[in-house]
Amino acid sequence: MSESPSPSSPSPSLAPWLLFSLLGLLSCLSCTKADGTGSSRLVVTGSSTLAPLLADLAASYERLHPEVRIDVQSGGSGRGIADARSGVADFGMVSRDLYTEEGDLKAWTLARDGVGLLVHEENPIPALTSNQVRAIYRGEITDWSQLGGAAGRITVVHKAEGRATLQVFLDYFGLKNPEIHADIIAGENEHAIKTIAGDRRALGYVSIGTAEEDILHGISVRLVDLDGVPASSEEVAAGRFPMTRALNLVAPESPHGVAADFLLYVMSSEANDQIRAFSFTPLTP
């Protein structure tokens, strides 16, 4: 009573590969983008500053239009640019003004955000001028006592290359990255804020919106006036605070269908309360 090997015997060795190819297929399905009319799935990727706001706006849009699914992924403004160009995303999120070499993309500004200077809560320094900030980041001023504060070496907190806040900061002060004498290089806004909260002598710069959120939640940091203007979302909204950036959605061409409708929604005054809830400044009244 002999049993010949059943013809199904090689199947277990194939199963993992079948599984892999199935996974591959699934991931391809999820990367096909909505082209408007028929499909109802949108993909939005990019800036980590914008991602929480867009996720919130997407959720309320989905409540109004249950047939639409919007997938929001964070990964930096650079990824937003790349994904919008390649078509992986319907919209890229970019938290700065576009460069001239990015002119192939259309941008829609849904809000503005200020970049403010941040110190530890217990640092008594009330305000800084542009010249002082320049001197500190160039390493010409190294101690708080030179600015009228308590003696102590300034811990200069800077951002990693490619971050949108870094670009806004360098452009505003007319600095080049190689001139900067930094002590600590932070990645995300939160990393910079936590670093400053842990160091009484630190000075850094972060999104005003993010900083105000964290201060509300009891993180021991304080935004410093710049050139006599308080760093607050009210001053950004009033157009008085000088160091600001545009928060943009970008795409290679004007969208149509669901994507166009979603764009209209986030640009309308309906979105303003949510934009303000994230401490950003809406542009539509």
Binding site: M1, N177, A182, I185, G187
Partner: protein, 287 residues
């Protein structure tokens, strides 16, 4: 007659499945390495390996690509962590196996397993909120530093070393230990002269795995090393490791900058491979 045949059929099925699993496991590494090579490809001609290792600075958007300080920082944090973690880890394992009271040893092992399971971002947060301010206030400097990174890495790899050393010591045949005791050796001598030498291969193996983890650890190091690109010349000054560099900049990089970052990944992978070399070279089962 039926039984053996059934078994051989089952064996064949099992064998096929296992071969597929082995091929899958092996090809993952190869695919990752090929992917790194492909993405790093453009950097070999521009700016070229020489520039990437000898440029004085790292300003990738303006054309300086010196990565040697980051390679040195990676080695300094990983080997520094090892230096601190090996005595503690091996010590804890020896204590748990030969000296701890009966109730304490399993407790200690469970604790080590728990420690091994803590996500690295938690170590990073603890380092950022507790260790870094502590260093800054007691020793000066910005706090985020080579020292902070080394200390947290040591904490993270202690359980790896302790658990593998414990397993290696457990595998020492009790007859050997009993024999040594019967010869009149004290417990200390049995441990030093018999148990540790017998388990040495397993312990070394655990140390190498811990080293590989230390070289590649990203999140915790990123949060507390300060990430300034400079050679690791002062324990209280910040450094940037290759893995932290990838995590910081990859999402924001394009063109030359991007391929150079992948070259950094290649450099890191090669370093890990080299550090595991003793394991590959040793005969199967001896190390």
């Amino acid at each position: 007659m039926r039984f053996p045949l059934r078994r051989s059929h089952l064996d064949r099925v099992l064998r096929g499945g296992l071969i597929a699993a082995a091929v899958a496991a092996g090809s993952i590494f190869l695919l990752v390495f090929l992917f790194l090579l492909k993405e790093a490809g453009p950097s070999f001609s521009n700016p070229g390996p020489k520039a990437m290792l000898t440029d004085a600075d790292w300003y990738p958007t303006t054309g300086s690509f010196g990565m040697l300080p980051m390679l040195l920082a990676t080695l300094a944090t990983a080997f520094g962590g090892l230096l601190l973690a090996v005595p503690v880890g091996v010590g804890a394992a020896v204590f748990a196996r030969y000296f701890a009271p009966r109730f304490l040893a399993p407790l200690l092992r469970r604790l080590m397993e728990l420690l091994a399971g803590i996500p690295s971002v938690v170590f990073g947060l603890w380092g950022l909120l507790v260790l870094v301010p502590g260093i800054s206030e007691s020793l000066g400097g910005p706090g985020q530093s080579l020292l902070a990174a080394t200390l947290v890495l040591a904490l993270m790899i202690v359980p790896t070393i302790a658990l593998t050393a414990d397993a290696a010591l457990r595998a020492v045949p009790s007859t050997v230990l009993l024999g040594a005791t019967a010869l009149g050796l004290s417990r200390g001598s049995v441990v030093r002269r018999v148990a540790l030498p017998t388990a040495a291969a397993g312990i070394r193996s655990g140390i190498l795995l811990a080293l590989a983890r230390g070289l590649g650890e990203t999140m915790a190091v990123l949060m507390i090393a300060g990430n300034k690109v400079q050679a690791p010349y002062d324990l209280l000054q910040p450094v940037r490791t290759l893995s932290a560099n990838l995590a910081l900049e990859l999402g924001y990089a394009s063109e030359a900058h991007r391929s150079v970052l992948f070259f950094g990944g290649l450099l890191l992978t090669t370093t890990v491979l080299l550090s595991l070399m003793p394991r590959f070279l040793a005969r199967e089962g001896t190390l």
